[in-house]
């Protein structure tokens, strides 16, 4: 007890553009309607041993479905070898390693990291160390950067049902920079600060994908009972909650563990108790029984009062196991009567015969998996009793953490023989230094002097991680003021109207047209409306009358018509023209015409 809390972070940042090992776009992901069905088999690493996480997954015997998207090719389907590493993202990774004061490796050597939860069609993730031994300065001292890796992102999980997991191929292969810190972080505030400092460096470079899950964190936590890896923490505020939760959880577990010593976990033995629930008032149980599932019950030796007490929450620990095998959770003696289960309890107790100090639980499952759940629960209780806590956990939105799988070991890595090693030579280092993100002040100064935009706009573009987007749009449109407006006003407006994130890939064709046809602000904004809301194609757009600006004599005769209906003045003219036509026009010109007419 009382061991020092040690926290390390793994920050995963998706990079936009092309995927890591093929020519597919990271953005634009429409489902093609094709589905691939696969199974994965655990294989041994180079030492000939099985990885514990892989063995565990094997016991779950799940199968996988992959929805094919238009940003995937044979590679994502695991039907061809990887192409060469995307040089653009490799340069960015080297650049970021330098920015984080890392040493850069001489040779980039890709590895296969076995992952058989189906999230990679190949059964492994390709990953390579780019930099190591770096650091960032924080208010609570220096935090070491143990490594920066450039890896493939995994598939996005869509759903899981009856042992079949469905994934989308859209995210598979998106370049992912993984920045791991040393366990130098001292508390939850410090963790948030460190994540912010590192995140900001990437954001300033403007390389991250613009998507809700573009930055994800894993938290490594320990307080003397082994390392717990908490996966997939999306928000900074959740980092705080997750660390606090885990601290509390490990504290009560260390207090409880001596009290559990010597318990005979072999008495945990599920039996079918469905007949007691034939007339149950529990809607959940009734509907599951109807669906052909069964109710199983068991004694929980020595756990009465520890399942859900003042401090102890062993119920959750067991529910986590049940959920991993497709069960909704458990109902246990510390919370019964409840959930509509009441009348059955007496008979249940008579049947299960819990002794003094024993708890009991019921669970809805099937005869096929209940044995696996029983074994997994016993194994878990044995570990918790011995306070062997290292494992992989997953975080909920509220910041509670849940058991996911054993920690994988070094066993799961072996060389990716299909990708030759890449020498990081002076040219590559030079290029990486050239693109390396500068300080915020330097960047603002650069945007102001180079592109003639205001200091305030420059700051907003930078803090939104839009540096690269700005440069790209400016290149396409050839007008830095318009590019600024697109980023700061037009896109947010479109996103508000469409209710979704608009990716830069979607914008490129329309901005290309804008540049080619020298559209001004009005035409561009009208075109965006028609494109994103009116769902017009680019071809339709450029042929459409809607985009022809109204001006000169045409505008003048419109104003004369309007004036006849009701006299026009500089105050009402703009809205009145707008109510008459959706075509673009220059307000300055309209005002001048009104002035000319009244003058």
């Amino acid at each position: 007890m009382g061991s020092k809390v040690m926290v390390g972070l793994e920050i995963h940042i998706q990079l936009g553009g092309k995927k890591l090992f093929c020519n597919c776009e990271t953005e634009s992901a429409t489902e093609t309607g094709n589905v691939i069905e696969r199974r994965l088999i655990a294989t041994t690493g180079e030492s000939g041993k099985y990885d514990p996480a892989a063995v565990y997954e094997k016991s779950r015997a799940r199968s996988f479905r992959y929805k094919v998207t238009d940003n995937s090719c044979l590679l994502e389907a695991d039907e061809e070898p990887p192409h060469s590493v995307n040089p653009d993202v490799l340069r960015k990774a080297v650049s970021m390693a330098l920015t984080l004061n890392c040493k850069v490796v001489d040779r980039v050597a890709y590895m296969r990291k076995i992952v058989i939860d189906g999230s990679n069609t190949s059964g492994f993730q390709r990953t390579a160390i780019i930099g190591f031994n770096g650091h960032v300065e924080t208010s609570k001292g220096r935090v070491g950067i143990s490594s920066l890796c450039l890896e493939e992102d995994s598939c996005r999980k869509l759903e899981e049902h009856n042992g079949i997991v469905t994934y989308s191929l859209d995210r598979l292969g998106v370049p992912l920079m993984e920045i791991a810190t040393d366990p130098d972080i001292v508390d939850e505030e410090h963790a948030v600060e460190t994540a912010e400092i590192i995140g900001k460096k990437v954001l300033l470079a403007g390389w991250a994908r613009k998507a809700p899950d573009a930055i994800r964190q894993d938290v490594n936590f320990s307080m003397g009972h082994g390392r717990v890896e908490i996966k997939g923490v999306p928000k900074l505020s959740t980092i705080k909650a997750a660390i606090a939760y885990e601290k509390e959880r490990q504290s009560w577990l260390s207090e409880l563990s001596p009290k559990l010593k010597g318990t005979n976990w072999g008495r945990l033995k599920f039996q079918d108790v469905s007949q007691l629930f034939r007339n149950t008032k529990s809607k959940v149980i009734a509907s599951n029984l109807q669906a052909g599932m069964s109710v199983f019950g068991t004694v929980l030796p020595g756990l009465a009062g520890y399942l859900k007490g003042e401090k102890y929450r062993m119920g959750r620990e067991l529910a986590d196991v049940a959920k991993l095998f497709g069960s909704g959770g458990i109902m246990h003696s510390d919370e019964l009567p409840g959930y509509g289960v009441e009348g059955e309890i007496k008979e249940l107790v008579e049947l299960l015969k819990p002794g003094k100090g024993d708890g009991f639980t019921i669970i809805v499952s099937t005869h096929k998996v209940i044995g696996l759940i029983e074994d997994a629960m016993k194994a878990r209780l044995q570990k918790l009793e011995k306070l062997e806590l290292p494992e992989t956990r997953v975080v909920s939105e509220e910041g509670t953490t849940h058991y996911l799988r054993p920690l994988p070991g070094g066993e799961r890595m072996y060389p990716e023989t299909d990708v030759p090693s890449i020498t990081v030579d002076d040219t590559m280092l030079e290029e990486a230094r050239r693109i390396s993100p500068r300080s915020e002040e330097e960047l603002v100064e650069h945007l102001v002097s180079e592109f003639g935009i205001s200091k305030q706009d420059a700051s907003v573009i930078l803090s939104g991680g839009q540096m690269e987007a700005f440069q790209n749009y400016n290149l396409l449109i050839g007008d830095s003021k318009l590019a600024t407006r697109v980023i700061l006003q037009v896109i947010p407006e479109m996103e508000r109207k469409t209710g979704r994130v608009i990716s830069s890939t979607e914008l490129i064709p329309i901005l290309e047209e804008a540049g080619r046809r020298r559209w001004d602000r009005q035409i561009l904004e009208r075109a965006m409306d028609l494109y994103f809301l009116g769902k017009m194609t680019i071809g339709d757009l450029i042929r459409s009358d809607e985009l022809k600006p109204i001006g000169g004599n045409e505008l003048k005769s419109m104003i004369i018509t309007l004036d006849k209906e009701e006299p026009v003045n500089p105050k009402n003219i703009i809205p009145r023209i707008r109510s008459r036509t959706s075509r673009p026009f220059s307000p300055t010109e309209a005002l001048a015409l009104v002035k000319e007419m009244s003058g």
Binding site: I36, E37, R38, R39, L40, I41, A42, T43, T44, G45, E46, S47, G48, A54, S63, L74, A77, D78, E79, E80, P81, K103, V105, D106, R107, A109, M111, R112, K113, I114, I116, T121, S122, G123, F124, T127, A128, I129, F132, N133, S147, C149, G409, G410, E411, R412, M413, Y414, P415, T417, S421
Partner: protein, 427 residues
């Protein structure tokens, strides 16, 4: 910088003396690290760090090396011949190499063959139904296979079929259809199914297609037909395996799981949801396995193309007993080859015509070019696949009287000619 390197006994040593398998502390770019030396190549050391990552470093870039211990290297156990008794169905299991029998050699990074009972038990889900009579021949990459190997495979199969109800051959996919064709012709009859199995993803990968192909191959080999087939994924999903007739199968994609196709027809069998279906037109089993194991290898296969000169063609076909041309379209070559073709026929050797379209057959009566070639003595081979025609010629030249050559080439010995082609073809 002066570097001091010590072995586990505390003695100084030279970097070149560092043995693979040594767990060591070392310094790289100022960072202290620990890892096992896995291999050395081209001036680099490949070091496996405790995290599992391999670090590839130039030899002279690490310093302060202190050897901690030497870790025994894992050796894949492999026995050449054994009986793996699990269940009642007896199937001969013949390994010849290829991806399906391969795992990555972590020392060299190359793919090396590993087949051991433990691996089979772990990964082939229906193994409990079978007793495998395993014999591992010397592993060859399938691109290195020659007709001599076909004869060795055939003799092994004949021997094994006398003791088992069927046989599977694990084979590299690159030339698997050539071997299947050769075995098809060499066995006049078979007392059990002979199934070639390959895989497109090596079995060290969790996603390998080897597992399902092996599962299906064993089921096919214990079912009821007397032909040579190839068992490979029917589509990209892990849910069905097609059995292709050896003389109609072709690898049509370099990397996909469903690379193999039955050209011009339907597969002759299918394994899906744990059960086998075999087409009624598959040949029946025979009481006896009859092997004609002679081959005449002096046969050329020539791909005609606009740049092919008469001289090149003459050079390739010189002294060949038979030449199979992959002609254009319905079976044509440029007129510039006519004189060479005429010469070949006049010296008593054979010129056979197939189509480089692969789908469809030759018909040399439609265009004048075809009719000219027929007049020169070219033998059209209908829709026989070019490689199959070549192998058939090797077989016929070695085992039948010379005067019967054309007649036998025209007759449909093993289903190598599809007599009815349809507009729609099942995958």
């Amino acid at each position: 910088m002066v570097t001091a390197n010590y072995n586990e006994k505390g003695e100084h040593f030279h970097l070149n003396k560092l043995e693979t398998g040594t767990l060591m502390d070392f310094t790289y770019k100022g960072a202290k690290m620990k890892g096992v030396l896995v291999s050395r190549s081209e001036g680099n050391l490949n070091i496996k760090l405790l995290s599992g990552y391999n670090l590839l470093v130039p030899v002279n870039s690490i310093s302060d090396i202190k050897a901690v211990e030497t870790i025994a290297q894992h050796e894949g156990t492999e026995e050449k011949n054994l009986i793996l008794e699990q269940g009642p169905k007896k199937v001969a299991f013949i390994g010849t190499g290829g991806t399906i029998a391969s795992r990555v050699d972590y020392i060299t990074g190359a793919v090396k063959p590993v087949l051991n009972p433990g691996f089979l038990r772990e990964s082939v889900s229906n193994l409990s139904k079978f007793t495998l009579d395993i014999s591992l021949l010397e592993a060859v990459l399938s691109e290195n296979i020659t007709p001599e190997d076909w004869i060795l495979f055939a003799r092994t199969v004949k021997d094994k079929l006398s003791k088992n109800q069927g046989a599977v051959i694990l084979h590299g996919t690159d030339t698997m259809s050539y071997t299947a064709s050769a075995l098809s012709f060499m066995f006049q009859s078979l007392s059990g199914p002979l199934v070639l199995i390959g895989s497109q993803r090596s079995s060290d990968r969790p996603s390998s297609d080897a597992f399902l192909n092996l599962e299906a191959g064993l089921e096919f080999a214990s079912s009821n037909f007397g032909e040579v087939g190839i068992a490979m994924h029917q589509n990209t999903s892990d849910n069905a395996v097609a059995l292709h007739r050896g003389v109609r199968a072709r690898k049509m994609h370099s990397s996909r799981r469903d690379a193999f196709r039955t050209i011009g027809g339907h597969p002759m069998g299918k394994y899906e949801n744990g059960s086998v279906t075999i087409s009624p037109d598959a040949r029946a089993l025979s009481d006896e396995t009859v092997l004609l194991d002679k081959l005449e290898t002096s046969v050329a296969l020539v791909y005609f193309h606009p740049g092919l000169t008469a001289d090149d063609f003459a050079a390739i076909t010189e002294r060949k007993r038979a030449t199979v041309i992959m002609g254009t379209g319905l079976g044509h070559t440029g007129t510039r080859l006519y004189s060479v073709i005429k010469g070949i026929v006049e010296r008593g050797d054979h010129v056979l015509m197939t189509t480089q379209c692969l789908f469809g057959g030759v018909n040399m009566n439609v265009y004048s070019t075809g009719r000219e070639l027929l007049k020169l003595g070219v033998t059209p081979l209908s829709n026989m696949l070019p490689e199959v025609a070549m192998i058939k010629a090797m077989h016929v030249l070695a085992n039948y009287p010379e005067e019967e050559f054309s007649k036998i080439m025209h007759s449909n010995l093993r289903g190598e000619i599809v007599d009815r082609e349809f507009l729609w073809e099942a995958k």
